[in-house]
Assembly symmetry: C2
Homo-oligomer: 250 residues x 2
C-alpha cells in the first residue's frame, strides 16, 4: 500500500485473530525497522521478538494485564542498546564513553525510529499494531524477563497481528495545536478552549465522563489515567534502572 | 510509493536543491506526522517549522555548522511538549502531574514516532531527509531560538528538501546483531568479530582510518566522533535543561 495511505489510515488495533505471522513477513518487518536512520549508523538499539506463549505470559502483568500481549502472535520490545557497541569497542582496544544520559537518549531515539518503521511496514501488509506505553513504567522487570544485559533498556513495545476488530480513525487535535511556524506561538485561554472543544464534546468524552464520574476530560487524565502519583513513582524506578544499566555514570 | 519500498530505500540526504516545498505538500507531511500513535492520544509533542532564513541561520551553529540546516528549504524540530496539555489541565481545574522524567520520556516518544512518520511521508513524495542528532546536545540554545516555553524540549530535528545528490544505501549490520529471539542472546567475542567484519573491511572504513590516523573503526567512534568527554558534557547540560523545563520535579 502507498506509504502516505498506510500512515493516514493508522489505527491502534487491540484485538487479534490467532493466526500467526509468517517468518518471511516478520523478517521483512524487522528489516524495515533496520533501515531507519540511527545516530552515526551505530545502530545502538535491539529488538526482542516474543512469540513463545510463556514469555508473553510473563510480560502480560508487566503491561498491566492488557490481553493483547498474549493474544497477539508477535510482541516486539524495542530497546536502547549500547551493550553490543560497547563489547565491540572493548574488543578493539577502544574505551567507550557511552555510560551516560546523552547516550541513553541517542539509543532510545534509534530504537523509536526503528519501531515506527516496523509498524508502518506491518500495517502496509494489513497487520494491526498497538504501542504499549507501559514499557517505560516497568522497564526493570521487563528487562528481567527478556534477560537484557547492562547497557540495554526497553523503551517501547509493539504488539502485532491480524486485526480482529474494525475501529474508526482516532480523533486528533487541530493541526494548529501541534504545529508552530518559525517559533513557538504560545496559546491564549481562548485558543486552548478552541483546540480542545471538538474532543471535549465528542461522544467518547461523554462516555468517559460518565464512566469516571468526572466533570471534564482533563480530570480523567489527571485523576484516573495518568496520575501524578503513578508518574512520580515510575519516574523514580525508571531513573534507578537507567543508573543500574549504566547510563548515569557521567 | 509503496510503504515498504519507501522504507527500504531510505538514504540520508545532506545536499538539497534550493527549490521550495509547496505548502500543500508540507501540510500533508505534517498531517502524516500527526497520525502516529501517541500515549493516551494526549499528543504531547509539537513540531516547529523553520523556513525563514534568519531562523535557520540562528540554528546552524547549534547543529555544529552542518550546512544542510540553511540549505534545506524546511527544518522541522520535533519537541516533547507538555506545555499545551498542562495549560489545558489548569484551565479545567485539573492538577497536572507531568513535571517528571517519566512524562518527559512519554512526550519524547510521541515526538519521535511523529518524526518518523513525517520522514516516510516526505520520502514517499521523493523528498530527501536527514536527522540531526545534535538536537539533544544543544537543546537549551535551540529552545531559545525557537522560543520554547517551560514543558517543551527539542528531541530531534529533520531537514527536508529536494535531493541534490545520489547516495548509495548505507550498510547495516547483519540482522542478527539487532534482533533477538525470545530473550537477549548476548554475544561471544567471535560473534562480535563476525557481526562487525563486513563494516570493518569496507572501503568507507579504510578511508575513515586513513583520515583519522587510527588503526580501527571503534576508535574512530570513541576517540573522534562520539567521545566520552563530549557525551558527559552534553549529558550534564541536557539534564540541567530538563530540570529547568520542569521535567525533574518529582
Amino acid at each position: 500500500m502507498d506509504a502516505l495511505e498506510t500512515i493516514l489510515n493508522h489505527r491502534s488495533i487491540r484485538k487479534f485473530r490467532p493466526d500467526p505471522i509468517s517468518d518471511e513477513m516478520l523478517n521483512t518487518i524487522l528489516e524495515a525497522a533496520s533501515r531507519a536512520s540511527t545516530t552515526g549508523n551505530m545502530q545502538v538499539y535491539s529488538i526482542i521478538v516474543s512469540r513463545d506463549q510463556s514469555i508473553k505470559e510473563a510480560l502480560l502483568p508487566l503491561h498491566f494485564g492488557q490481553k493483547m500481549v498474549t493474544e497477539a502472535p508477535v510482541v516486539l520490545t524495542f530497546c536502547a542498546d549500547f551493550n553490543r557497541f560497547n563489547l565491540w569497542c572493548h574488543q578493539r582496544d577502544a574505551d567507550p564513553g557511552y555510560d551516560n544520559f546523552l547516550s541513553f537518549m541517542t539509543a532510545a531515539i534509534d530504537a523509536l525510529l526503528a519501531a515506527q518503521n516496523a509498524c508502518i511496514a506491518a500495517e502496509s501488509f494489513g497487520l494491526g499494531i498497538c504501542y504499549l506505553g507501559t514499557t517505560t513504567y516497568l522497564a526493570e522487570p521487563i528487562a528481567k524477563v527478556l534477560k537484557l544485559p547492562l547497557g540495554v533498556v526497553p523503551v517501547t513495545t509493539v504488539v502485532l497481528g491480524w486485526p480482529d476488530q474494525e475501529v474508526p480513525l482516532t480523533d486528533r487535535l487541530p493541526m494548529r495545536a501541534v504545529v508552530h511556524q518559525e517559533v513557538y506561538q504560545n496559546f491564549s485561554a481562548e485558543e486552548i478552549d478552541e483546540i480542545y472543544s471538538e474532543r471535549e464534546n465528542s461522544a467518547l468524552t461523554k462516555r468517559l465522563l460518565e464512566e469516571n464520574g468526572l466533570d471534564n476530560l482533563a480530570k480523567v487524565f489527571v485523576e484516573k489515567r495518568y496520575t501524578k502519583r503513578d508518574n512520580v513513582q515510575f519516574s523514580g524506578t525508571l531513573l534507578n534502572f537507567l543508573k543500574h544499566q549504566q547510563f548515569f555514570n557521567q
